[in-house]
Amino acid sequence: MNKDNLKALYRGSDINEVWQSYQNERVIEHPKLGLISPNEYRQSYHGKPCPFCGKKMVHGKANYSTKSRQEAISRGYQYKTQNGKNYINHAGRFPRLYFHPHYVTLDHKVNKARCPELLFEVSNLQIMCWKCNQNKSDNNNFEAEQDYNFVSDLAREALSKYKKL
């Protein structure tokens, strides 16, 4: 793959097509895992905690997805989004597949639609569960906001602990 060509991708549909077509190609140069494909990258995080919510992540369509919405609900795949709506992670149309809320996903720190040249750059990739990815959406300030929430929680905890006598 000529990575220089990625720079001249302007349409979201083109960028997505390239991303999808390389899911099983070894195009990511990982410092520890070596040259791996996006799917292998995801697979290597099966059973590990999500770095954002700490929940155990899963991988494997056969075991952690279903075509039936009812089955997905009965398996507990449905969860509430930040604005309180019921949601089930899903992909595809015919058939639509419903996924486990903490299914492993590979996220682009700077979203791929705006910086396609970083599509397969390991420094721009991060593993997170689908639910956190859904929560992140295309927010390029997500990590900073997560860090702020962490600092804010620490501050609240400290202020409640060290009250005046």
């Binding site: 720079k7 001249a8 705006r114 910086c115 900073a144 906001e145 060290y162 005046k164 006598l165």
Partner: protein, 182 residues
């Protein structure tokens, strides 16, 4: 006066006055014993007053002894009870220990409040700086995203225009010369 006579007279004086014989023997000369023995009726007049006087003195002595006993009793010792209270307070932990010590003003409340106040100010400042920094980065990102989106749309339109009017090869040349290598 012989000894026997002296003892006999002292016995009479003691009986009449109510004063113990040992005291009379100790303090009176033979002349005084002889003189007092002649006035036994007079001595008998003060016997009841003398007995009452000794009774009162005994009561006062008893009272003083009781006070002394109470003073020496460990149960009533303020130092011991303060020590017991302190040991009890120190055997507690955390907030309960602090509150117990606070009841007797045994915590440096002002020092603690001053330190806590400084600490709280610092924590609040750090949180405010973090919030402002996050908001600023969000705003910068929003501006840059908007600019990227505009440029992307422009370039996409230019690409389409060149491909349609000058052919795909021309676009490929432009891409390799001006875009891919940058």
């Amino acid at each position: 006066m012989n000894k026997r006579e002296r003892n006999r007279l002292i016995k009479q004086i003691s009986h009449a006055s109510g004063i113990a014989q040992y005291a009379l023997k100790q303090k009176m000369t033979d002349e005084e014993v002889s003189e007092a023995a002649k006035n036994l009726k007079v001595l008998a007049l003060i016997k009841s007053a003398n007995t009452y006087n000794r009774y009162c003195q005994a009561q006062k002595t008893k009272e003083a002894n009781d006070k002394l006993k109470a003073f020496l009793d460990p149960k009533n010792s303020e130092i011991i009870s303060a020590g017991k209270w302190l040991l009890n307070a120190l055997s507690k932990e955390g907030k309960e220990r602090q509150n117990t010590l606070l009841e007797k003003d045994l915590v440096h409340k002002e020092d603690y409040n001053a330190t806590t106040s400084d600490l709280r100010d610092t924590i609040s400042t750090i949180e405010n700086v973090a919030r402002e920094s996050t908001q600023q980065s969000a705003e910068k990102i929003r501006i840059l995203e908007k600019r990227i989106d505009t440029l992307q749309k422009q370039l996409s339109s230019i690409q389409k225009y060149i491909q349609n009017n000058y052919g795909a090869q021309v676009w490929k040349d432009i891409r390799s010369k001006f875009i891919s290598k940058v």
